[in-house]
Amino acid sequence: MKIRPIRETESSIAKAIKNRDREEKEIYSDIIKGYQVLINSLKETKGKSNSLRQSLMSNLSPSLDVGSGNSEKINKLNEDLRETYKKLTLANEAVTKLEKENEELKKKNETFGAENESMRVVLTDLKEKVEIRTKELNACKAENELLNGKIKELKQDNTLYFKKIVELQEEVVQKMNDANQLYEEASKLKQDSILKNHDEYGVSNSVKPGLDLSSMINDGYFKIPSKTRHSLFAHSKEAMCLTYTSQGSNIASGGGDGIIKIWDVEQGKEYGSLAKQKKSITCLKFSPDDQFLASCSLDRTIKLWKIQTMREAISFSGHSDNINSCSFSYAAKKLITASSDRTIRLWDFVKGVATKTFPCTSACYTIDNLPAETEIISGHLDGTLRIWCAKNEEKIHEIKDLHADAITSVTMSANGNYILTNSRDHTLKYIDIRKYEEVAEFENDMYINGSNTNRSTMNSTATYGAVGSSHGNVIIFEIKGESIEVEEIYPDYHSSCINSIQWQPGASSFASIDASGSLLIWD
């Protein structure tokens, strides 16, 4: 490409610049410069006027100050006014609030007043009621006093009546005894003629009144029975009573089913059973010559059985309540029974009637006597022990409150000096009969006397004894002089309450029966 030479361009451009400047610059520059000058002067004048104004303002300062001061004051006052207005509004608001609260409180007050009124009314009502009640109370109290007085009188009457009853009873008994005596005398005449012929009802005098048990001391080692030799299921219901023959070879047991069974001790087998009675047997006793067995039952009859024939010989009746215990009074040839009708009766098995009645003030649960002796010991419901003479047929002595509760069994020692009593207060007491003193007492946690006819027993030498607890524990204890101590306790053999234990006469074994009807022979 061909480029124009520089000199040419320079010259042409120089010309062009000139033209341009002429058109654009020169025409206008003067005017605009003048304009700018005017503007500047205007600016200056503006500035001057401003400064003049300011100086004017400052010259006028005193009055302006005053004016400003005034204006300041005015402002202040305005502000104060505003503030006071504000305060006024606040105060107004507070006033309205308080008024509202006041109204609310008034309303509350009214409601409270109304409540108060209602409460007052209720209060007066209650007060009236209280008065009525107190009146009633007083009336009741007065009645109460009257009734108390009446009770006292009645009690006094009661005691009087009681005394009278006792007297009457005695009279009745006396009359019965008299009647008996008359009967006896009347029948004596008969007897003399019949006696020689009717030997079977008589008791052979040749037979010793029982073996002298005290002589039957085992020489040598006395072994405490430790295990059951035989465990027999005796009765379907509970086994109530138990007795050994005087030689200890047989046991008779009576139960709630009314059956009396006789067992062989050695073999542990049933020897025989007597006829079933309607009600349960409460007590059994062999006669000292083992010919007869006396049984008492809940039908208030006593039956005498002849063992050889296994048949009933005589039946006595006359008690008016349960017969709890029986015993043979050999010396007087009579049967003694103790009953809950508060009498002890002597029955003559020849005549077949009760010859003597001992009244006692309390139900008698147990009696014991030695066949050779004339003394009868009886234990009663009120815890007294009474001693009677069979011969004279009168009460010798009574030990009152021997036990805290009913005496359930009385056992005489073989020498007749000591008694072991068993009571519902779960204690056993060993009593000296001659002195009427308590020698020893036995108490044990394992021993609980559960029935009114729980029997305890001693061995023939009165050194050891056994008692059964209502838990089924068999407790064997040793009687040493002043104390009774536990020898052994066998808890697991019996499953229920033990009703009776009897020590085998002349041996170191015993038998026990319990409420489940089982008979255990120990060895």
Binding site: M1, K2, I3, R4, P5, I6, T9, E10, S12, I13, A14, A16, I17, K18, R20, D21, E23, E24, K25, I27, Y28, S29, I31, I32, K33, Y35, Q36, I39, K43
Partner: protein
């Protein structure tokens, strides 16, 4: 290269001192005032920027503008409704928008000052502080490949702006000597900016043209210097091939018919008749040396601004 082209200081000086009369009014559509405010007239050098006027204008219109809390960044100028770019010198803006056919209605350069609704779609707010030094760096990069000459002398920028505003040639060139004075051998690229009086790229589709709002479109296309000088026409033909093309003519030298040397001469022709090429308000022939132009007629940021005015009725 024919000869070492040296700058012509006369022309440079004369060029630098070219001024334009500017008339500034406020935009009355957006202000509410009972009296009419005076218009502001000032002679501004062609090699200056409009944003340098803003402080004076605020002071002049202080009744309206002062104390309203309008930041300097809110002000912008417009000419005939079009927002004016901050980064173009006043002379370039005038050439692009107004100067046509030397009509006398063109002067003074009537512009409007606004302080509402900054047209963020076409102008960048708050960048006027950095325009001058940015352009200096760009031109320096194009000229010598690095901008260190400017970077090391940033503190001179403000004084350069001052001298621009006042039209002080000597002060300006004292600073600019190290930055903007280069010979052809030193140049790597020609720092040229073409400004077209269209606000869209010439190759844009017609549908896109309507969607764009803007003002004078600037094409900045550096041309690599290969130690040979080129004329402005050739440059324009390369850059704006839509408007300029090279035509090869065969010139027959009548004197030397026997030699039958057919000199093929390449001439740059305008594709649209009436297309003007203006630099600093001067019509330039298309075969003028580009290097000479760069040395003498560069603007204050060392770019050569070539205004190409395409007639508006032409078919695009």
């Amino acid at each position: 290269m024919e000869e070492d082209i040296a700058p012509n200081y006369e022309i440079r000086r004369k060029n630098f001192q070219g001024t334009l009369p500017v008339q500034i009014r406020l935009d009355y559509s957006e202000i509410y005032i009972d009296k009419e405010l005076p218009t502001y007239y000032i002679m501004q050098p062609r090699m200056s920027y409009f944003f340098l006027l803003i402080p004076q204008l605020i002071e002049f219109y202080s009744e309206l503008l002062e104390g309203k809390g309008i930041s300097n960044d809110e002000y912008w100028f417009s000419c005939r409704g079009e927002p004016l770019r901050f980064d173009l010198p006043i002379g370039v803006l005038y050439d692009t928008f107004i100067r046509e056919n030397s009509s006398h209605d063109n002067l003074p350069f009537k512009i409007c000052l606004h302080y509402h609704k900054f047209p963020t779609y076409s102008l960048q707010k708050g960048m006027s502080k950095y325009i001058f030094q940015q352009s200096l760096k760009e031109s320096s990069m194009m000229r010598v490949g690095k901008a260190t000459a400017v970077q090391d002398r940033l503190e001179h920028v403000r004084s350069m702006l001052n001298s621009i505003k006042e039209g002080k040639y000597d002060d300006f060139w004292r600073y600019n000597e190290e930055i903007g004075e280069h010979s052809l051998s030193q140049l790597k690229y020609f720092p040229v900016r073409i400004v077209i009086n269209r606000h869209y790229h010439p190759y844009m589709l017609k549908e896109e043209k309507d969607s764009i709002k803007g003002n004078a479109f600037v094409i900045q296309r550096p041309v690599k210097v290969d130690a040979t000088d080129i004329c402005i026409g050739e440059y324009l033909a390369k850059t704006l091939s839509k408007y300029f093309f090279i035509q090869t003519e065969v010139i027959v030298d009548e004197d030397n018919i026997e030699e039958e040397k057919q000199n093929e001469v390449e001439v740059v022709e305008r594709s649209i008749k009436g297309t003007e090429v203006i630099v600093n308000g001067l019509d330039i022939d298309l075969d003028t040396s580009l290097t000479w132009l760069i040395m003498n007629l560069s603007a204050q940021d060392n770019f050569l601004y070539i205004t190409v005015r395409v007639p508006s009725e032409s078919i695009e």
